[in-house]
Amino acid sequence: MTAPKPLKRKAGRIDDLASSSGGTSLAADAFKRMSRSPVAITGAVITVLFVLLAIFSPFLAPKNPYIPYDELRATLRPDSIPGPMPGFVLGSDQNGYDFFSRLLVGSQQTLIVGVCATLIGVAVGMVIGGLSGATGGWVDTLLMRFTDILLAIPSLLLAISIAALFAHGTQWTVIVAVAVVNVPIFARLLRGAMLAQRSSDHVLAATALGVRRRTIVFRHMLPNSMGPVIVQATLTLATAIIDAAALSFLGLGDSDPSRAEWGLMLGKSQSYLDVKPELAFYPAIAIILVALGFTLLGESLREALDPKNRR
């Protein structure tokens, strides 16, 4: 009897497929789906460009952003700020510094504040939420009422109050203030996810195998609860940047006026809006673009990790 050829070929192909599949995790799966989404790519491009800019801005800036230039100061008057001139792409700011260089270097502060505030918020929030979700009982009740109190206060108001506690504002004032605002959000999120995991079948199965409690929490509950936290962290980066800019704008951030920071630049230039609107316009655009980039990335990450969208 002759074996049907196409069938044989098909079998071979299936074998190939099977041998090449190896171990692809859910994360790898999500990455594959994201690389096909234009929204994700847009977000990723903006984010990567921004991070590269922040890292290399000291080398990219054509002039020293921290000293005033005599060429610019010569024509600087309260009712006229010099525009573009040779060597100074966007002209001067209100203090006679090179505006373009300051705009570039400003990305650094923004990234540091955004990332640090988010990381601290995630870390503290995860400790609280993880403890809450893993233990339950009165520990859970106590911690969750505490987060309820924090959540009850409007976030920006809370951030302003915390920042105002510090006599001399520094960049860290802003970071701490924004981080505290984010703590209850992550605590809530992780606790909810952990609770869902606690009553899941695979945790019951692990319990039925006599796996230690510690192992169940760290190997079976926590990794399965991380999806929403990662997504929220990406989205929070965007709001953290905006919140930090808002605090600087209100003068609660770094009190050193020579510091290049987009929120601060925006705040200081508001009285020159009729003289040179670009001074406010460009930092604002930069903040919006970066926040948009992180939001797009976070949203598509959420979509990619959502089990409802799978295949």
Partner: protein, 330 residues
């Protein structure tokens, strides 16, 4: 001495604001070493809760467990959490219904097997990995060492259930509880899994409690069968006695509702009327009475006792005679 002696096991779920619900109501049965015992009944008959109570997996709050579960003479219900954790997986294993959701989706299956080996048999990582590959091989998964690094979603349903069985048997427990292990699988795979289970049980001498609503599974696997209804055992019989001469109208109804190969063509299946929701409490009546074709006036007034009958046990006022059962088939 029996390996497992369950005596008067009761589980009552209490919750503020609701009336207590008795899911398991004085269940007693024995499992001998190497024996396969079936727990049969429809949804809500208390079979899964019985299993969870034996494994000590019911939530501390809200579930009240009474009676005794003696495993090799020691009462499991009096163990501390820690002591129980040491025995679960090592002495008692469990296979669950849904193989996909019972595996951790974010870690490779290899780790889920080695974790148990390291925990209970104190193996080193490398040794455990070799043993895990060996286990997968034994449950019939081809190319086991490659499969170890795969995630649950990459396996087929049958392979997932094989993996779960491998995990449950990793530490060679003396008792394995299988809670409807074939419900989520299609029929051809069901047969494979059942064959695998019976083979493993025979080879390792593990006792098996098979929880199922499928009498076909019972026929293929169990030495002794407990038929449960409304949280109580209503009939206990050996497999052969159950299929040849079931006495309880409920068992009889279950048998009449499955198709037979030797039945004349066009014969209709006979369902059991009503549902578990029609139950009346066991205290002063037979819970099955509202659905029972043989119900007498007494069935609604006096609760029947579980009494020896024809080599088994029976809880019924008006059982189906062996002859009647045979006659009805004609």
């Amino acid at each position: 001495m029996a390996l497992l002696e369950v005596r008067d096991l009761s589980v009552v779920f209490r919750r503020k604001g609701t009336t207590p619900f008795t899911a398991v109501d004085g269940v007693s049965f024995d499992v001998e070493p190497g024996q396969t015992v079936g727990l049969v009944g429809e949804s809500g008959s208390g079979k899964s809760v019985t299993a969870l109570a034996i494994m000590g997996l019911l939530p501390k709050r809200g579930a009240e467990v009474r009676g005794s579960v003696r495993f090799e003479g020691a009462d499991l219900l009096t163990l501390s959490d820690k002591q129980f954790r040491d025995r679960r997986g090592r002495d008692l294993g469990m296979v669950f219904q849904d193989p996909l959701s019972s595996l951790n989706p974010v870690i490779p299956i290899g780790l889920q097997i080695t974790e148990v080996l390291e925990r209970h048999r104190g193996m080193a990582r490398r040794q455990a990995r070799a043993e895990a590959a060996d286990l997968l091989n034994r449950v019939g998964i081809p190319d086991p060492s490659r499969r170890l690094s795969e995630y649950p979603h990459q396996l087929s349903g049958g392979m997932r259930q094989r993996t779960l069985i491998a995990i449950a048997l990793a530490c060679r427990p003396r008792l394995l509880i299988a809670d409807e292990p074939t419900t989520a699988l299609d029929v051809t795979i069901q047969a494979q899994i059942l064959a695998l289970l019976s083979e493993l049980v025979r080879d390792t001498g593990t006792a098996l409690i098979m929880i199922t609503h499928d009498l076909g599974v019972v026929a293929g696997l169990c030495d002794e069968v407990n038929v449960m209804y409304g949280g109580r055992v209503v009939e206990r019989a050996s497999r052969h006695a159950l299929f040849s001469a079931s006495r309880h109208p409920y068992t009889h109804g279950l048998l009449a509702s499955i198709p037979r190969l030797d039945a004349p063509r066009g014969e209709k299946l006979v369902p059991i009327k009503g549902s578990v929701a029609d139950n009346i409490p066991w205290d002063q009546a037979c819970a099955f009475a509202p659905r029972c074709p043989n119900a007498l006036g007494r069935c609604r007034e006096v609760s029947p006792k579980l009494e020896p009958d024809n080599g088994g046990m029976l809880r019924c006022h008006n059982p189906v005679g062996p002859l009647t059962a045979a006659a009805e088939r004609r």
